[in-house]
């Protein structure tokens, strides 16, 4: 079935270093969403990308959607301890109906002060 692959599974960085997580699909996606889950918390929607080659920024976070709409990335510049958590990408499930999303398994980011 449709899958969204996300790498890496874990990333440990020193505070101030950059961080990137990647999301890949074998099929063309209509859109891709990103969520953040803080430790002990629940996933919270960050952003949605729809257009081919789209780039969006939220402060130190940069989100990109590939030209072929099959991959996406989230880049954090100069990580801070507040960035700790698990970042998920998600895409519409074409095999399903009515708004299902397929989630990547997430990248767990830890930041050493």
């Amino acid at each position: 079935g449709q899958q969204v692959m996300q790498i890496p599974q874990y990333q440990h960085v020193q505070e101030g270093e950059d961080f990137t997580t990647y999301c890949n699909s074998s099929t063309t996606l209509s859109n891709i969403q990103w969520y953040k889950q803080r430790p002990g918390g629940h996933p919270v929607f960050l952003i949605q990308l729809v257009k081919s080659g789209e780039v969006k920024k939220q402060k130190r976070l940069t989100f990109q959607f590939g030209e072929a709409k099959k991959n996406s990335s989230l880049h954090i510049t100069a990580t801070q301890t507040t960035d700790v958590g698990t970042y998920f990408c998600a895409a519409p499930d074409y095999g399903g109906s009515q708004g299902n999303l397929i989630f990547g398994k997430g990248t767990k980011l830890s930041v050493k002060p």
Binding site: S30, N31, P43, A90, P92, Q98, G99, N100, G106
Partner: protein
Amino acid sequence: DVKVTQSSRYLVKRTGEKVFLECVQDMDHENMFWYRQDPGLGLRLIYFSYDVKMKEKGDIPEGYSVSREKKERFSLILESASTNQTSMYLCASSFGTPGHEQYFGPGTRLTVT
């Protein structure tokens, strides 16, 4: 702000007990979802509902059932709890149009002993 609430943050049940997890959303969303989250396995969809009294199986429906009698409320039922159902259970809701973001509740940490 969208609010999704779940009946309990922590729950401890015995093997064989019937367990009810309730979820309520206040944004008039058509879609509601139940996921379980386990380390290394990401978010796995148990059941979802796109309308009152409508339900569809997700990826791991075995051992679970659901009920949606009112639009704002979606219940997950474990007919006979087993230890392998110890997990974090997350409820989410979204508008019905495909591609909308999902809003998650705080989660219920269920332990079955």
